[in-house]
């Protein structure tokens, strides 16, 4: 059965103009066009989006969880890089 399963695609949806695309989930599809229609039918039926990206899951290059320490921890103790000293006004959304 596994070899007959359609490949997996990751779905990214832009909910409003001006915002960036966000990962919404994934769909199975036999080809790119089908991935786009499946994503539309699965993830935007309640008016969630104005734009959709789909990409084959196996085309995504991801960091290795085993290397998380080497990848991310060096940035943790460099507090001067973190913009935590600003007050963000309540009116600013989507920052």
């Amino acid at each position: 059965m596994t070899d007959k399963e359609w490949p997996l695609y990751e779905v990214f949806i832009r909910s409003r103009s001006g915002l960036s695309h966000r990962h919404a989930g994934s769909v199975h599809a036999a080809d790119d066009e089908m991935a786009l229609t499946n994503a539309r039918d699965t993830y935007t039926r309640r008016n969630e989006g104005v734009s959709i990206w789909v990409v084959r899951s196996d085309k995504i290059v991801a960091s290795d969880p085993d290397e998380a320490a080497a990848f991310f921890e060096p940035a943790k103790d460099k507090v001067y890089r973190h913009p935590t000293f600003y007050d963000i006004p309540d009116e600013v959304e989507n920052l």
Binding site: W6, V27, H28, A29, A30, D31, E33, M34, T37, N38, R40, D41, T42, R45
Partner: protein, 252 residues
């Protein structure tokens, strides 16, 4: 026939096509081949049923006798339904569904588009809303026609068979009856001859792209628009109307 009677009858017929096809597709809920196709089918079926509701409600308003959408859907008999024979045919396999939807939606999208330009505001508003839904449906059904036709040896053979089988139900779409003629004369309604030419072009393009053969025009079934249906509609209505017939006025 007054203009109001004409609009009521015409809007009812549009509702019948949408409702019967929607009901056929609803029969397949939980039987989709993939989760994503399952959702697509249910979405599309609900689009059709939503359109039927608008057309019936409008028909009731034009008629002016207080009939609601439910009266049209659940309390009319088989011979009072004026849908095309194509939409009442049993579902068959996935290829049959794709071909039926593609043939009907290619016709329906042009019909709705023409209706957006008719002089009756009520109908043109419903058509403007529905045509967007059907443009998307068509994108989906056309893609599947290409995929199956230009797919494996088996999918090609089966979808060709679907096309050959369903072809006999396409002629009826373009034969104008007195209602079509009256709509054209009174409200600048759709011109079926023009729609047929557009339909033929789109269908033959897609069929060629799908590496399939366009069936030859042979004997064409007809009668749906006059209320003479195939045996299948009665069973569909019996199932759909059972609750309202057994428990009149039931609500929840």
């Amino acid at each position: 026939m007054t203009d109001k009677e004409l609009l009521a009858a015409y809007s009812t017929r549009l509702g019948d096509n949408a409702l019967v096809l929607g009901q056929r597709m609803i029969e397949l809920v939980a039987a989709g081949p993939e989760l994503e196709e399952e959702l697509a089918n249910a979405n599309f079926a609900l689009d059709f049923i939503g359109q039927a509701r608008l057309f019936y409600t409008y028909a009731g308003e034009c008629e002016g006798e207080g009939r609601t959408e439910d009266d049209f859907a659940f309390l009319r008999r088989e011979h009072e339904y004026r849908n095309l024979l194509l939409v009442e045919q049993p579902n068959g396999h996935f290829g049959d569904l794709v071909v039926r939807r593609f043939l009907f939606e290619t016709f329906y999208v042009y019909l709705l588009d023409a209706l957006t330009r008719c002089s009756d505001e009520g109908l043109s508003e419903i058509a403007a809303r529905a045509v967007k839904e059907i443009r998307y449906h068509l994108r989906h059904s056309r893609q599947w026609l290409l995929r199956l036709g230009d797919g494996t040896v088996e999918s090609h053979a089966r979808v060709q068979e679907s096309l050959d089988q369903l072809w006999q139900f396409t002629g009826e779409m373009f034969v104008p009856d007195e209602l079509d003629d009256a709509m054209r004369a009174a409200c600048n309604g759709p011109h079926l001859e023009i729609i047929e030419a557009e339909w033929r072009k789109d269908v033959s393009d897609a069929v060629a792209e799908a590496t399939l053969l366009l069936p030859e025009d042979g004997w064409m079934a007809s009668g749906g628009k006059q209320g003479r249906h195939s045996e299948h509609l009665g069973y569909l209505l019996a199932e759909m109307q059972f609750l309202q017939r057994s428990y009149p006025g039931a609500s929840w």
